[in-house]
């Protein structure tokens, strides 16, 4: 067995070999299990396996995206798919198929039966990923396997998701019995953060995807630097999706710098040969936008969210049917509207009219109003709803008290964000006054703002001046302009209201937006045409 490659990391454990005992089903259960596999399912799995072996990509895609979920609904709504041993019989124990099958098997368990997952199932799912990687990465030539990109994306995303689940399960020590705890402590390498990082980095390295993206970004042919693995679609796309997996993982660990950095050479707003899996695009924008928001790069966050939300708006019908993928997409969409609303409160600026309208229709204006008036609880609730699940990179120490250790990372990131919000607390009030004037003496504004604080005017003015400096500082942020790294940019004041102080006088510059009639008329014309078309088609 070659687990060493991926369980590795840099930990002081010698050797790194642990016992790998998949839970065996007692022999007499085999037949029962086997008999219980419905005929239709047997047939499906045989076809599925054949399609994969022969590399029939459209069939695989259909089996994966349509038939498998249908079969799940029909036969395995709330119970596991048959286990490996029962399936092995009628797929000639095809090892590659069995690994892929188990990936689906565990994914189904995580999706439908998460509360009853056993430790063995969590472990075995991890080992199955190791098996898959060993198969893909250990040969010195690309393996003969092709899978639809949708599957590859979900595979990588699921891998990070299961790490997230494990990390949360691992951190809840209150309900663990001593045996479970002992086994966990003995197996700290399973789902270890370094292993997970190592897996993603290995896929990135093997595919040369970074070089490929660099060449692609400069207009060249990525194949010229891809190498024999990177030219192969399986490796190329796994490499690309692993970058997005890293983006997610870094974000969940609070490392926003690495999160953005890992996407160097990817222009997320541009259509490219890598950007055809909607769920991946949406997830990418969600994490990128979130990282920008945490870095106080509101313009970049707003641009990122607006652009993907527009895309979602235009392709809405794609996400309306109820599937497990769309559930996630719709959840992330809601989260992004929340994040966008928060960014717009902190950094008011013009955005696309149809996004503005969506914010109105979805009732975000009330939330935004509350946040503008300094309602910190509203800010915190919005943040908690919209933020990623933050994780602790390592398990609690072996001698930790039986407590819940999963909430700390969440509290910490929330605290960091709320600190920022508190620093900016006075800005909306100041903004609302400044909006009314083109010039305003400091002393006058100080009087407006002084209601009942009982200080003398000079100290009021001094306090106000500090707030004004803070306003200027907070509204001038790095904004990406060009180049291949999302971390780069230049300082800009992109917010709609700006001002400067000349001695004791504030001079204000606002942005005035004229009504947009064009959009309005176009929408009405389209509506009218639609109505007209319907009227014509009515036969009396």
């Amino acid at each position: 067995m070659m687990y060493d490659d991926f369980e590795g990391g840099y930990d002081s454990y010698p050797g790194g070999g642990y016992d790998y005992d998949p839970v065996e089903v007692p022999a007499e259960n085999y037949d029962r299990q086997f008999d219980r596999v419905p005929e239709g399912v047997k047939e499906f799995l045989t076809y599925f396996r054949d399609a994969i072996r022969k590399g029939m990509i459209f069939e695989i895609q259909n089996y994966y995206e349509n038939i498998f979920p249908k079969m799940t609904e029909k036969h395995f709504e709330n119970r596991p798919w048959p286990d490996e041993s029962a399936v092995a019989r009628f797929v000639e124990s095809d090892p590659v198929f069995l690994i892929l099958y188990k990936e689906l098997y565990y994914r189904h368990l995580y999706a439908r039966m998460q509360s009853s997952l056993t430790l063995d199932q969590r472990f075995n799912s991890f080992f199955n990923y190791c098996d898959l990687l060993n198969y893909i990465l250990s040969e010195n030539k690309p393996v003969d396997l092709e899978l639809p990109d949708q599957w590859l994306w979900e595979l990588v995303d699921e891998f990070v998701y299961q790490f997230q689940c494990f990390s949360q399960y691992r951190g809840r020590l209150q309900k663990k019995d001593p045996n479970e705890l002992l086994r966990l402590n003995e197996n700290n390498k399973v789902w270890n953060v370094l292993c997970v990082l190592n897996v993603l980095h290995s896929l990135v390295d093997k595919s040369n995807i970074k070089k490929q993206l660099e060449v692609y970004a400069s207009g060249g042919d990525p194949d010229s630097v891809a190498g024999k693995f990177g030219r192969h679609s399986l490796y190329k796309m796994l490499g690309y999706f692993s970058l997005v997996g890293l983006l997610r993982l870094h974000s969940q660990l609070g490392d926003y710098y690495q999160a953005i950095k890992v996407l160097e050479n990817i222009e997320i707003h541009k259509k490219s040969q890598y950007s055809h899996v909607p769920a991946c695009q949406i997830s990418t924008s969600y994490y990128v936008g979130f990282a920008y928001m945490m870095m106080r790069r509101y313009s970049d966050a707003i641009r990122t969210f607006s652009s993907i939300l527009l895309y979602i708006q235009r392709t809405k019908q794609l996400f309306q049917t109820k599937t497990y993928q769309n559930d996630q997409i719709n959840k992330q969409t809601d989260q992004m509207y929340n994040l966008l609303a928060m960014c717009l409160v902190l950094h008011p600026q013009c955005i696309d009219e149809s996004i503005q309208q969506a914010l109105r229709e979805k009732g975000y204006h009330e939330k935004m109003y509350k946040m503008q008036y300094g309602d910190l609880t509203e800010f915190e609730n919005c943040f908690l709803f919209a933020c990623p699940k933050f994780l602790s990179p390592s398990p609690p120490p072996t001698d930790a008290l039986p407590d819940d250790y999963t909430k700390e990372p969440m509290r910490h990131q929330t605290q960091v964000f709320m600190d920022e919000v508190k620093q900016q607390k006075m800005l909306p009030t100041i903004r609302s006054y400044l909006k009314l004037y083109t010039t305003l003496p400091l002393s006058k504004l100080a009087t407006f703002m002084s209601h009942a604080s009982g200080q003398d005017l000079p100290s009021e003015i001094a306090a106000l001046r500090t707030h004004l400096l803070c306003f200027k500082h907070k509204m001038k942020n790095i904004v990406w302009t060009k180049g291949t790294s999302g971390l780069e940019g230049s300082f800009q004041s992109g917010s709609e209201l700006d001002f400067y102080i000349d001695g004791d006088m504030i001079h204000i510059a606002d942005t005035k937006v004229a009504n947009r009639f064009g959009d309005f008329f176009i929408r009405k014309i389209l509506k009218f045409q639609e109505l007209n078309r319907k009227l014509h088609s009515i036969k009396i």
């Binding site: 990179p393 200027k472 606002d510 176009i522």
Partner: protein, 218 residues
């Protein structure tokens, strides 16, 4: 020294190797060197904090230095990036809590409070003094904020914002940024009305954007 190390360190931080705890000693030394030689490398410092985070063992002295160095790079948000890699508990204990307080005051641009407090934090002072050029870096940030906010500023106010500096030092900063001393104790910063003016966004409809719909309306 720093330049030589910058190269070595950059190559140590590539790929999965950035999580190799064996690199830690060298990275920590690099933090010391940055402090001494008034150099700065955010990415390397974040890698140190990341290793601490993974092993749940923070060297308080190095962590403090990293945070103080992040203060010297205001108005960039490096401090936030560093803070996100710490833990809740650490942030509530000195000296980290003190440094976070300083960052908070700086973020609010309450420079008078900053200068008053930074001089009175006796247990933090040795650490601050071990960061070469710390005070001047903060003054640079002050000048940045002044530079984007004021067209003219009272001389006394600027002196206060810079931490009650003497006349000669004040002149040094005024000169450095190309500002001008004027009559009546005022200092001219820049002609802000050239950059900061009311914008009017009017609707522009070009032919291309309506050609489609016009064609459809026959």
């Amino acid at each position: 020294m720093v330049e030589a190390m910058r190269q070595t360190v950059a190559s140590m931080l590539k790929g999965i190797d950035r999580y190799n705890p064996e690199n830690l000693l060298q990275l920590e030394r690099y933090v010391e060197i940055q402090s001494q030689e008034n150099a700065y490398d955010l990415e390397a410092n974040l890698a140190v904090l990341k290793l601490y985070q993974f092993n749940q063992k923070y060297n308080l002295d190095i962590t403090s230095k990293i945070l103080l160095k992040a203060l010297t790079n205001f108005p960039h948000t490096d401090f936030i990036l560093c803070k996100c890699l710490l833990s809740e508990k650490m942030c509530s204990e000195d000296p980290i809590a003190q440094i976070i307080f300083l960052a908070d005051v700086l973020e609010c641009c309450d420079f008078q409070t900053f200068w008053a407090r930074v001089g009175s934090m006796n247990d933090l002072l040795p650490k601050i003094n071990s960061i070469t050029g710390f005070h001047d870096s903060i003054r640079k940030f002050v000048c940045h904020v002044v530079g984007i906010t004021f067209q003219t500023i009272h001389r006394n106010l600027l002196t206060q914002l810079l931490g009650g500096v003497d006349d000669q030092t004040l002149r040094h900063w005024v000169q450095k940024y190309g500002w001008k001393e004027e009559a009546n104790n005022m200092i001219f910063i820049a002609n802000q009305d050239e950059n900061i003016k009311t914008k009017n966004i009017t609707e522009k409809i070009d032919f291309d954007s309506v050609a489609g719909i016009m064609a459809a309306c026959r």
